[in-house]
């Protein structure tokens, strides 16, 4: 899935806060465990305990300041050993006060673990990397940070989901689902990501449906949304795709309000090779829609896509205008519009919920398209929307080019959202 690949790359390239945060949480109070920790013999487990002094002190303070004060330990960290500086530095203040652990972990194991932390912190990363490398190199297994799934960690997870625009309610629900049956278990970053992705994909699975095509000719697709969400661009892309699939498409440039909106759509029409029906600026979009439907019927077109002017959902007058468009085209075809697409901007926050609610109520929205998912916005609000409204998500926009429209794939979306490396 190249689109999602692109999307994911961008997400990684940009500061993937979710990722960082997860690592930070796990490190902050997590304990180092060799990759194959579960199968490690007991002998190894003890030195591990011995190594505890550094994570342990971190684990204690974590309970208090974790939720609100932990943003600092953000630097990106993968579960490999050299990422350890964080806990090390965290633990720094403690070690000098408790040299106690030093003497007693005397046992057989490779105890020098806490040593670097006590000495110069700056050098610590390199030194530790080396040490860990040697220490853990034996099985070839990578060190994996694990941390008990407790309240603090859940709270931090919630925040991380909230940071993807998922909204407080949904974030709570998702984390609660993850926690169920796993509370108190030790989890690594990758495991958490996988769980999150799994849970999100589960929620998104039922709503990932392409735009349904009916034998009815012409199938009328009404495209609505707030200003600047990408309606016109989306129509251009959709028209091109349907055209490529051998359908005959007609576009009605129903945004008679915004300056040059019609010209913009005409350019898209040219690019897609699709006729665009226009009316003068300021004329009634409903009458244009009516004429367009008449023409599409006469021409025997497969699809009629009607663009509309952007409108904020709380503008009753504009919503009424939309209702009028629907009323008028129903005079020609009582079943029209067969699909009403609501175009959402991925950068939009919780207001997307209001948008869907109002547009669904007043314009009978049948499906969603989310645009601008190629940016830094992750579109987590889609999860909240799927959870709340269950409207199908037909496609996502991932760029400004005509082919930058991809079908919605729940697993890829979940992976991109959580920063999970698939496969």
């Amino acid at each position: 899935m190249s689109f999602f690949g692109k999307l994911k790359n961008r997400l990684f390239k940009s500061s993937s806060k979710l990722d960082e945060g997860l690592d930070a949480i796990v490190q902050d109070g997590g304990t180092e465990e060799p990759g194959e920790a579960p199968v490690e013999p007991a002998a190894d487990a003890r030195p591990d305990r011995a190594a505890q002094p550094e994570p342990a002190p971190a684990a204690k303070p974590e309970s208090a300041p974790a939720p609100e004060t932990e943003p600092e330990p953000a630097p990106k960290a993968e579960p490999d050993p050299k990422a350890e500086p964080e806990p090390a530095q965290k633990a720094e203040p403690e070690p000098e006060t408790d040299p106690a652990p030093e003497p007693d972990p005397a046992p057989e194991g490779p105890k020098p673990l806490d040593m670097p932390a006590m000495e110069e912190a700056p050098a610590a990363p390199a030194a530790r990397g080396g040490l860990f490398g040697r220490l853990l190199g034996r099985g070839g297994g990578q060190a994996v940070m694990r941390r008990e799934l407790d309240d603090d960690m859940l709270e931090s997870l919630e925040e991380l989901l909230i940071a993807s625009d998922m909204g407080v309610d949904t974030a709570l629900r998702v984390t609660a689902n993850i926690a169920e049956g796993r509370f108190g278990k030790r989890l690594s970053v990758d495991e958490i990501k996988a769980l999150l992705a799994q849970e999100i994909a589960r929620i998104m699975e039922p709503v990932a449906r392409p735009l349904p095509l009916y034998p009815k000719k012409p199938q009328v697709v009404l495209v609505v949304g707030v200003n600047g969400s990408g309606k016109t661009t989306t129509i251009g892309k959709l028209a091109s795709q349907f055209r490529a699939a051998g359908k005959s498409v007609v576009i009605a440039a129903g945004d008679t309000f915004r300056a040059a909106a019609v010209e913009q759509l005409q350019v898209w029409g040219d690019r897609a090779g699709v006729p665009v029906l226009t009316a003068a600026q300021g004329s009634d979009p409903a009458s244009l829609a009516f004429d367009a439907l008449a023409k599409a019927q006469a021409d025997g077109a497969d699809l009629l896509m009607i663009d509309t002017a952007g409108r904020l959902q709380n503008r009753a007058d504009l919503m009424e205008e939309l209702a009028k468009i629907v009323r008028v085209i129903r005079k020609k075809d009582p079943d029209a519009p067969h699909n009403t697409l609501l175009v959402l901007d991925a950068t939009t926050g919780q207001n997307a919920l209001n948008q869907v609610e109002t547009f669904r109520k007043l314009a009978d929205v049948s499906g969603l398209v989310m645009t601008k998912l190629d940016g830094t916005a992750k579109g987590g609000v889609l999860v909240a929307l799927a959870d709340k409204f269950g409207l199908p998500i037909h496609a996502i926009g991932v760029g400004e080019q005509i082919d930058d429209l991809a079908p919605f794939d729940p697993e890829d979306f979940a992976a991109a959202l959580t920063g999970l490396d698939k496969g």
Binding site: A163, V226, A260, T347, A377, V381
Partner: protein, 500 residues
Amino acid sequence: MFENLSERLGGVFDRLTKQGALSEEDVRTALREVRVALLEADVSLPVARQFIKAVKKKATGAAVTKSVTPGQQVVKIVHDELIAVLAGEDGDPGKLKIDNPPAPILMVGLQGGGKTTTTAKLAKRLRERDGKKVLMASLDVNRPAAMEQLAILGQQIGVDTLPIVKGEDPVAIAKRAKTQAGLGGYDVYMLDTAGRLSIDEELMAQVEAVRDVANPRETILVVDGLTGQDAVHTAENFDNRIGISGVVLTRMDGDGRGGAALSMRAITGKPIKFVGLGEKMDALETFEPDRVAGRILGMGDIVALVEKAQATLEAEQAERMMKRFQKGQFNMNDLKMQLEQMMKMGGMEGMMQMMPGMGKMAKQVGEAGIDDGMLRQQIALIQSMTKTERANPQILQASRKKRIARGAGLEVSDLNKLLKMQRQMSDMMKKMGKMGKGGMMKQAMRGMFGKGGLPPEMAGQMDPKALEAAAKQMGGKGGLPGMGGGAALPPGLSGFGKKK
């Protein structure tokens, strides 16, 4: 769907009745709710955290003013802090640095944020308010017809735009705009760039090049007011790469909570200069921190909600009453409601004065001793009746009348007057109902409920079932002596006219 912050806090503090200083525990509990409220309002997570930290410091140990609950006190502290952060130190938000002409203004932002519209709005404002000669140039070579859009807007608002040359790159256009502005004697030239993602390396480099050519006095980041958590990235990336000098929030006429304002302010430290409040070219206003603060906390919501609830309630009541009136049903409950409505609208005198040509009469009425005291007495009489009596005044015989009059501290004769008034009005209703003048009734009703609104306890009394029962009982009774004139008067007044 959003809970108002005060409500949330109310719940938290219900158990806390003690006054005095806010304990650390109080503050922590309260701030947890504040945090959720901020996040629901789309304030970015890091900003919300930072903000909570600041508030925590201020709130802990703060004295709780008497007659205020701890919850309200916390809301106040949060609100004040919000305003402080949003306003910042810089004094005049609506001011742009446009000295030594031609002063370039660079507009940047994501796609669909409203840059082009804002450019035109700002140009209009500069031209009309500040009397500046403005030139607008579109550097948007990506989006189809973007340049045409700005040209059309320029025509609409009477501001010059740089002639479009197809195939020119943004840097060349910027240069041309600069030359043109210098030659043409423009005070300001505005460069409207294409929308770009803050992580699009190529386009960000391009806008950097434009910046270096134009050396803008102001670099305005245009942000959608509905933006969610992504506000952090946008603000950070644009500010780091290009260095912005101010922010314009668009779409603030939507019903978003505007948390992006706080995020932008906190992250860039740059002032929010204007807010876009609509699609019209003059819908641009200077940023007002207190309004946005109230909105982020959801305080505006509650006001709107109450108003809306009241409006619906009144409309419903009016509708219900109208149906009853049309059937000629008018009992003491209805009369009481009208009397109270009259009191609300400023009593007899107030109403008379409001009616055309009755100003003089008002005086006479006053002299004749019909004043608000009478209205109050009549209400008192009705209140002295039992529910059954109110719903069905026909059952009043001597003993009941005595009791009622005594209860209201009045004479039985006063009660008789009231009863006569009710009968007459009821009769009139019936006539009007028969005449089928629904339109007139509706108008009268609208007049009655149009302003002021009913007190909530009234609503409680208007038990639909009781009314229905009463209506049935009344329906059977025969007609009473009619009352021809005065039908044109609003029902509330007609009785009085007669009475006098």
